[in-house]
Symmetry: C2
Subunit: 298 residues, 2 copies
C-alpha cells in the first residue's frame, strides 16, 4: 500500500513508468512480477522499495515493518499463481536498533509462506528504507498474468477487501490486516490451477486493480457490490470507501471461466463478470478510478 | 565500493551483520551471493543498496549511477563463478530527471554481461537510492565460495587492482574503472571451470578481501607485491595504498591449485600463495587490514 497523494506531489509515477517501459520493454512492466523462462519453468521476480514516511504506519513495530515488506513482495508472487523460492532484503537504517526486528519479521513471513530469506545488504540511511526482492517459480501452464480475461468470465476476490483500510481508519479489530498482511500464496496457486484467466493483487484497492486489469487485458468489469464479502462493523459512507477503494489488503482479484465456479474454495467470492466494454461498473454505474487516500503520516 | 569511515560513524556493520547471521543463518552471510539449489543447478542471488552521498562520486552521471549499481551486483554473481540471469532495480528518486539514465545505464550493463533488467520499483526519496538485486545460475560443480582455499594454492587476481582508487584520486586515465566498472563474469566462470578453490570480488580492496577469505576459509596468504600487475603512472606512497588497499575495482581474487597455473589467461596474475598460518603477509610483513579511505563527498 502506498500513499499515492504524497508521492504524486513529487513524482508523476505513470510517466516515469512509461520511461522505464520504453527502456526495458513494455511487457516487462505490465504484471505484478517479471517472468523469466528457465529450465522448462518460469521464474517470477519482483522488487519493492518501502520507507518509513510513506509506507509504514506510525504504530508499526520493526518486526511488522519486516513482515509487511516481505508480504508485499510475496503477494506479487502470489498474483502470478507462483510459489516463492527466496527473498532478499536490503535495509537502509536510520536506527540500528530496528535491524533485528526487520530481519526477524521478514524471516517469519518467508517461512510461513514456504520460502527463505537468503541474504541482503545493510546501509546507513537518513530514512528507514526497506527493499525486498522476491523470486518464485511456476509451471508455464499455471502462470496467470494481468492480461487474459474473457467476456463472461467471473470476477473473484479472496478474503474481505477493505479490512486493511478499516484498520488504518482506527477499527482495531482489522489492524492486523493492515500491519501483518498475509500474502495469498495458496489461493494464488489454487486459482491458477483451476484456470484463472487473469489475476493481480489488490494492494491499491479493488477499484484501481480492476482498472489495471482493464488496461492490461482490454475488457471491462461489472461488479455487484452486494455480492462483496461483508466488512462487519463498518457502515455508512466508509463502507464503499474501504471495500471498493481501500488499499493495503494484499488479497487477490482474479477472473475465472464460469464453469469453474464450482471449484472455488471458502474465502473466494464471485463479485461480478467480465464484459466486452472497456469500462468498470459497480451496481450499473461507472466505478470511480481512485484509491483510498490514507494519511497515516498526519 | 563503500565509504567505510562514514558508515562506521553511524553503524557497527560487523555487529549488525552478526545479528542478521543469527537470524537467517551464518552460512547465508558468508559469500558474495546466497546459494539456492533448484532443479539440479544452483541459483545465486545478491542485493546491494547504494545511495548518492555514500556511493556515487560527484562526477558520476545518472547513466553511470545506473551502470555502476548493476555492476556491483553482477560482480557478486561473478565471484561465485556464476552467470547472471536477470536483475531487478528499485530506485528512490530525489530528482525524476535521473530515472532515464539510471535505468538505461543498468540496462546496458545487464546486456553487456549477458543478462536482462527485467523489472523494478520506483519511489520518491529524500536521497537518490538505488537497489539492485541480481540472480544468476551455476552448475554445482563450478560453484566457488569464499571458503575452500588449501595451503599451497596460488593466489590469483584479475585485471589491475588499484585502478578505481587511482581514478578517485584524480588520475583521469583510470576514471572509467571507478565510474563504469566491468563485472568479471567471463573471468569468474573461467576460474570456476579450471578449479578455483575460493573466490570473491575485490570491491573493498585486495587487503580486506584477503582477510575476508581468511575469515571464511581459515587459511592465510603470502603476497609478493612485486608480482602485482603494474599500475602505471602511479608511484610513491600512493602505489601500495591504491593497489593493496584501494576499493571499487570489482576485480576478482581467487585461489587455484598450483597445477592449474598453466591454464590462466592473459589478465590473470599469480600474486602469492595460500599458507597454513592464519595471517596475511605482503613481502614478509603483516598486511594492514584496512581499505583505502575515499572521501568523495568532501
Amino acid at each position: 500500500m502506498r500513499n499515492g497523494e504524497r508521492r504524486c506531489v513529487k513524482l508523476d509515477e505513470r510517466a516515469l513508468l512509461l520511461t522505464v517501459g520504453r527502456i526495458i520493454g513494455e511487457d516487462r512492466i505490465r504484471d505484478d512480477c517479471a517472468v523469466i523462462p528457465w529450465k522448462g519453468e518460469y521464474l517470477v521476480a519482483t522488487t519493492d522499495m518501502l520507507h518509513r514516511s510513506t509506507d509504514f504506519p506510525v504504530q508499526m513495530t520493526s518486526w511488522q515493518m519486516g513482515w509487511h515488506s516481505a508480504a508485499v513482495s510475496l503477494s506479487d508472487i502470489a498474483a502470478m499463481a507462483a510459489e516463492p523460492l527466496f527473498l532478499l532484503r536490503s535495509v537502509g537504517l536510520d536506527d540500528p536498533d530496528l535491524l533485528g526486528g526487520i530481519i526477524t519479521g521478514a524471516s517469519y513471513c518467508c517461512r510461513e509462506n514456504g520460502c527463505e530469506l537468503v541474504g541482503g545488504d545493510l546501509d546507513a540511511h537518513s530514512e528507514c528504507t526497506v527493499v525486498s526482492s522476491a523470486v518464485g517459480t511456476v509451471p508455464p501452464e499455471r502462470l496467470v498474468r494481468r492480461r487474459g480475461a474473457q467476456p463472461g468470465d467471473l470476477v473473484v476476490v479472496t478474503g474481505v477487501p477493505g479490512r486493511a483500510a478499516a484498520g488504518l481508519a482506527g477499527y482495531r479489530e482489522y489492524e492486523r490486516y493492515l500491519l501483518e498482511p498475509s500474502p495469498r500464496i495458496r489461493e494464488g496457486v489454487y486459482l491458477g490451477t483451476i484456470g484463472a484467466t487473469s489475476m493481480m493483487d489488490m494492494s491499491d484497492g479493488l477499484a484501481l486493480s480492476l482498472y489495471d486489469l482493464l488496461a492490461a487485458g482490454g475488457h471491462g468489469f461489472r461488479i455487484d457490490s452486494s455480492a462483496m464479502p461483508g466488512l462487519k462493523g463498518v457502515s455508512g459512507e466508509e463502507y464503499p470507501l474501504f471495500t471498493l477503494h481501500g488499499g493495503g489488503d494484499y488479497e487477490l482479484v482474479a477472473t475465472l471461466p464460469p464453469d469453474r465456479e464450482k471449484d472455488l474454495l471458502a474465502g473466494m467470492t464471485v463479485i461480478g463478470t467480465v464484459i466486452d466494454e472497456e469500462v468498470v461498473l459497480a451496481d450499473g454505474k461507472e466505478l470511480e478510478k481512485k484509491g483510498y487516500e490514507h494519511h497515516w503520516t498526519g
